[in-house]
Every structure is written in structure tokens, then in C-alpha cells.
């Protein structure tokens, strides 16, 4: 059985299943209960700033913890809880806020297993909202998955649709490593038929979501639907595109990237983040380093410009990679 769910609802369902199946799973974050334990006819819970965790505190009153607005304290305590028997899922409201709490991820969670000689596991999941598209401006719109992906010891995933979101989140929570789970704003409301029940999508496996032999469009999170739409437009001109959804930024499915490159000889990477030290640049380097003999055209990167995310609607739209840019870039390869 499957029902139509948004990505946010799929996340909620995954959290519900994770908590039902493992009593050690706890949710921590600002407003994740959001008044849910108050009573009164005119009082209801927020369930997070975007309502993603709504309903969970009523089902699991002891395990959904509203925290103070203290990201360093929350993340640090979650790491401490993770190494002493809990399996915490932290909501970092927006990934931009990582600036206030990077240490527990960078120097604690990511490094414990290594520094302690393999004698500890850190089963921590950090759910966080990323990306532009809501006019949330420069401090609530960044795509910083490149940052956590570059820290050895952390895993970073970014689903593009509700089905993957549910399976990836269940896999992330049950993973014995710290995993950063990015919820890209532009796909948070996307709807799909989501299978009911408990299933996982393995972390580290990309998905070839469209097949075509002429060019490879590689996307992640919100840029995957853009790649698919661009592929449909290009198909009308007789250009058939592979679309590869990375799903996981670290581990990166290098074999899937090289396989699509080998098939098409042309790669366009579409990345919502800024271009310096980016996933797009990393993939371009991979294609040149390990796939040079397959390349028929230069590897193209479509990224945000090297600037903060603007507020004004037309500026924000110009900032975000677009279907038109993808189509034009592919046409320019010919």
C-alpha cells in the first residue's frame, strides 16, 4: 500500500517508524514538540518550524525533547547521548545554524571512532533544512552539504523525493555513524506515492532515475527534479539524458558516476551550493581523474554563484540553478 505524501510527511513517517522500532531513538531540537504536551482547546503543537515533527510528541511524550535555543548544547549533548546508548535524531532547524555548533560534529562526533581506536560508535542523525527557494535570505538558505561531506567520519545524504527521504532517513537513524540528513527546501513539499511500512535505502548508492545515452545530468536534492525537467525538454530536441540522483554526498557513489560517464561521454553536474570546494567540483575532478578516457566534452558544473543567497525574489531565482541553464549548457556541449 502506498499513499501520496510530501517529503516532509515522509520524514515524519520515517521518524515514527524509527521510534516505534527502537526505544533508544530520541528526537531533540528547537520546537520539535513545540507545545505538544500542553493542553487546552485552543492550544496545538508546532512540531518544528515547518511542522515536520508534528504528532510525534503525542505518540512518544518522553522521547521528543524540546530544547533551548542552544545548538552547541543540543549537538554536544546528542553526541554524548549517542556514545552512551541512545540513538538521537537532532533537528538543526536550518543548516546555516551549523556555525553555532560545528564543534560537536567536526571535532567530536566525526572523530571519536578514529581517535578512540575503533572502540566507540556514534549513532547520531542530524536532520537539517538546506537550500534556497523560500526567500529566507542569506542566513537561512545555504546549501552546506559540501562542508559536512568534507569531514571524515561524517556521512551526508540529501534526498530528492519523498520515497528516498523515508528510506534514507531510516537508514541514517539506524546507521552507527553520524549522518547529516539534508532536507532541501525546494523539494520539501514535493509529493509522491510513498510505500507504507518499514524500508531503508542504502547510504552511498546513487540512483539512475532516467536513462538516455547522450549526456549525463548529475543532481542532488533539489537539483534532481530540475535535471529531470531539463531532460524532458532536451528529449524533444532528440537529446537523451541520463539523470543520476546522488542521494548520498558522502560516501559518494563514484562507480555510478563513472558508469554514466562511460555510457554518455558527457557530464553536467547541477549543484545548488556555491562552486568553490564543492561537490560539483569534486565530481568534475573525479571524471577527469578516473574517467578521462570516456570524456567526449568538457565536464560542466552548474552551481550557485560565489555569493551569499539574496532575499529579493528575482535575485534568488537567478542564484538558484535553473532548468534553462541546464538545457543551455547541454546544448552548448554539441
Amino acid at each position: 500500500m502506498s499513499r501520496e505524501l510530501s517529503l516532509g510527511q515522509a520524514v515524519n513517517e520515517a521518524l515514527q517508524i524509527a521510534m516505534e522500532t527502537d526505544p533508544d531513538v530520541i528526537l531533540m531540537g528547537e520546537d520539535v514538540a513545540g507545545g505538544g504536551d500542553r493542553t487546552g482547546d485552543d492550544v496545538d503543537e508546532m512540531g518544528g518550524v515547518l511542522g515536520t515533527t508534528r504528532g510525534l510528541v503525542k505518540a512518544f511524550p518522553d522521547r521528543v525533547l524540546d530544547t533551548p535555543i542552544s545548538e552547541m548544547g543540543i549537538l554536544g549533548a546528542a553526541v554524548g547521548a549517542a556514545i552512551t546508548g541512545m540513538r538521537p535524531v537532532v533537528e538543526l532547524m536550518f543548516m546555516d545554524f551549523i556555525g553555532t555548533c560545528l564543534d560537536p560534529l567536526l571535532n567530536q562526533a566525526a572523530k571519536f571512532r578514529y581517535m578512540f581506536g575503533g572502540k566507540v560508535r556514534v549513532p547520531l542523525t542530524v536532520r537539517t533544512v538546506t537550500g534556497a527557494g523560500m526567500q529566507a535570505a542569506a542566513q537561512h538558505s545555504q546549501s552546506l552539504y559540501w562542508l559536512t561531506a568534507g569531514i571524515p567520519g561524517l556521512k551526508t545524504v540529501i534526498p530528492s523525493n519523498p520515497i528516498d527521504a523515508k528510506g534514507l532517513l531510516l537508514a541514517a537513524i539506524r546507521d552507527d555513524n553520524p549522518v547529516v540528513f539534508c532536507e532541501a527546501k525546494m523539494v520539501l513539499g514535493s509529493i509522491a506515492e510513498v510505500p507504507a511500512g518499514d524500508y531503508e535505502i542504502p547510504i552511498g548508492e546513487a540512483a539512475l532515475v532516467r536513462e538516455g545515452g547522450d549526456v549525463s545530468l548529475i543532481g542532488m536534492g533539489a537539483t534532481v527534479p530540475m535535471c529531470r525537467s531539463a531532460a524532458e525538454q532536451l528529449a524533444r530536441d532528440g537529446i537523451q539524458a541520463d539523470v543520476l540522483d546522488l542521494r548520498s554526498i558522502q560516501p559518494l557513489d563514484e562507480e555510478a558516476i563513472l558508469a554514466t560517464l562511460e555510457k554518455t561521454g558527457s557530464v553536467v553536474v547541477v549543484d545548488e551550493a556555491t562552486p568553490r570546494s564543492s561537490v560539483a567540483s569534486d565530481i568534475a575532478a573525479l571524471c577527469v581523474d578516473r574517467g578521462f578516457d570516456f570524456l567526449n566534452t568538457p565536464v560542466k558544473r552548474i552551481s550557485a554563484p560565489h555569493c551569499p543567497v539574496p532575499f529579493s525574489r528575482p535575485l534568488e531565482q537567478a542564484y538558484i540553478p535553473s532548468i534553462d541553464r541546464i538545457v543551455e549548457t547541454v546544448r552548448g556541449l554539441a
Binding site: L65, S70, G80, A81, T84, Y114
Partner: protein
């Protein structure tokens, strides 16, 4: 105070082990045998031992860059620690952690820590685990006066207070944050008063006096363990050595340091107290000194002779991986 002979002898052995361990390290670094950054706990032994005497393996401790004393007090294997500091495969962390990252989670030792204040939220999380899992465990964060200026300190104490966590925050006020005197950077005389802003119980102990630390820590830990909430325990102590081995110590008065070392050393103070009370004979303590010295010499020799990690270990243990079936 119920202090039986066995407890006193055990406490002395731990304090002497810490002192001898640190002196051995100082010697090994100075002679070029050991590398890396080394922060010695000399002078502060009564704090770690006075607190940890109330803990068992089910209780958690988060430590600092000056962590050897906490490890030894918590019962971590000294030979494994020594091998770790030599960077050998036989080290507690396979030689991958070193001085600032010694950990033994099985013994409730959540790690020394190279980031000032980082252990405070970790201990808070361990206290949350203990509360949610109803283990009866208590979680202790050791940290310095310097760390009490970190946001992590304030955020953690606030969270522990609202959730009434079984946590004890032990601030070792040793007079210096690295090289800067505490009074330059802390506007209050007693760091313990900072607990008041969280409605939290606080206590102050003479950190050079094992008996005072033992009593106050006992009160704090019993309070936290009973579910009444967290406690901030300030132990006034003094860092006999520099911030790190090799510190030129130009920033503090030699006379001040000498006074502390000559008149406030926790080991002679302990000895005077127990021998005058007729609880333990001085000869027994000398015997412990000899045993400890032999044990550490053997540990250092074994560590020195142990193999370095295989180079293939460079990239292992980055992630937990399910065993392949």
C-alpha cells in the same frame, strides 16, 4: 565521614600514580622520547581522585586536554595509556588518539578532549542517557576555569537544569586559562556562583584537600544521583606544572608557585592527615610509592618496546562498517 583504610589507600595509590605518571611523561618529553602536546595534571590530583572515588563503571566522565589524571582516577589501564602516549599499536586507542584523546567508554571514560569546554555537553548527553534509560548513573564533566567562559558551559548547565539531569559539573579552578590568570577573564571570584543563573546547586571545595573534595563531591554526586538535579562543584586548585610540557612559565610568579608547591601539595597534605590520625602508616605509603614507580617504569619500557601501528591502520576506524557476511 566514613573513610575506611581501604578507600584511603586506594585513593593515595591513585593520586601517587597520577603524580608519577605525569612526572614520567615530563621526563620522556624532555628527553625527546615522546612527542606531541602534553598537559600535565600535577598538583590537581586530589580533585580527580576525590570525585572519582564516588563513581563506578556505570557512571560517565568527560575530561579535558589535561586528562591523564581523570583517566587514572576513573580506572583506565595505565599501561594502555602509556602505550597510547608512545603512539604504539598496543595503546588504548591503537596509537591514533594520543594524550588529548584517551578514552575508555567501557569504563565510562568518554575521553580527554582537545577542545576547551567540549566535554561539558558530552557529559550532559551522557546524563540524559542515564536519565532516559534509568540506569542510576551519574555523569561528571571535568573542565577548567577557562572552559567556564565557553558557550558550551552555559548552554549545557541550562539544559541540565531544565531537565534535572544527573550531572555534576566539576570546575577545576587552577588559576590559569592557558597562560592568562583567571581573574583577568572571569569577573567573579567564585565560578560556583555561575550556577545561580540556572537555579542550580553549587559547592566549593579546597581542591588541594582530598578530604574536602571527597566530602563535597560525595554530596554533589548523591544529590544528582537521587534525581534532584545537577550540581556545579568548584574545586580551587593550582597547576604545579605549566600549561604544557615546555611552557617557559614566564607569566606567573615563581614565588607564588613555590608557595603552592611547598605548602599545598595534595599528596603531603593527605599523608599528614592520615598518618597523624593513625589511619595509615607512612611506611605503607612509601611501599605504594615504590610499587607505583615500578609499575610505571615497566609500563614505559613495555610501551617503548611495543610496535608502531601498521600503516594500513591509517584509514581504518573512520567509519563503523557492518561486518561483511
Amino acid at each position: 565521614m566514613e573513610l575506611d583504610r581501604e578507600l584511603l589507600i586506594g585513593a593515595y595509590r591513585k593520586m601517587r600514580t597520577i603524580r608519577a605518571f605525569e612526572e614520567k611523561l615530563g621526563e620522556l618529553v624532555t628527553t625527546g622520547k615522546l612527542g606531541g602536546f602534553m598537559h600535565l595534571y600535577v598538583g590537581e590530583e586530589a580533585v580527580a581522585v576525590g570525585v572519582c572515588s564516588h563513581l563506578d563503571d556505570g557512571d560517565a566522565v568527560a575530561s579535558t586536554h589535561r586528562g591523564h589524571g581523570h583517566c587514572i582516577a576513573k580506572g583506565v589501564d595505565v599501561a594502555g595509556m602509556m602505550a597510547e602516549l608512545f603512539g604504539r599499536a598496543t595503546g588504548l586507542c591503537k596509537g591514533k588518539g594520543g594524550s588529548m584523546h584517551i578514552a575508555d567508554v567501557e569504563k565510562g571514560m568518554l575521553g580527554a578532549n582537545g577542545i576547551v569546554g567540549a566535554g561539558i555537553p558530552l557529559a550532559t548527553g551522557a546524563a540524559l542517557s542515564a536519565k532516559l534509560k534509568r540506569t542510576g548513573g551519574v555523569s561528571v564533566a571535568f573542565f577548567g576555569d577557562g572552559a567556564s567562559n565557553q558557550g558550551a558551559f552555559h548552554e549545557s548547565l541550562n539544559m541540565a537544569a531544565i531537565w534535572k539531569l544527573p550531572a555534576v559539573y566539576v570546575v577545576e579552578n587552577n588559576g590559569f586559562g592557558e597562560f592568562t590568570p583567571t581573574e583577568f577573564v572571569v569577573p567573579v571570584k567564585d565560578i560556583a556562583v555561575r550556577a545561580a543563573s540556572f537555579g542550580m546547586k553549587s559547592l566549593i571545595a579546597d581542591g588541594m584537600d582530598f578530604f574536602d573534595v571527597y566530602a563535597k563531591a560525595g554530596e554533589a554526586i548523591a544529590f544528582a544521583r537521587s534525581g534532584e538535579g545537577p550540581v556545579l562543584l568548584e574545586c580551587k586548585t593550582y597547576r604545579f606544572a605549566g600549561h604544557f610540557v615546555g611552557d617557559p612559565l614566564v607569566y606567573r610568579s615563581k614565588q607564588e608557585a613555590e608557595e603552592w608547591i611547598q605548602t599545598r601539595d595534595p599528596l603531603p597534605l593527605f599523608e599528614a592527615r592520615v598518618t597523624e590520625a593513625g589511619l595509615v602508616e607512612a611506611d605503607e605509603l612509601r611501599e605504594i610509592d615504590r610499587e607505583v614507580a615500578l609499575k610505571l617504569a615497566a609500563a614505559a619500557q613495555a610501551a617503548d618496546e611495543a610496535p608502531f601501528p601498521d600503516l594500513a591502520e591509517l584509514t581504518t576506524d573512520v567509519y563503523f562498517e557492518e561486518p561483511r557476511s
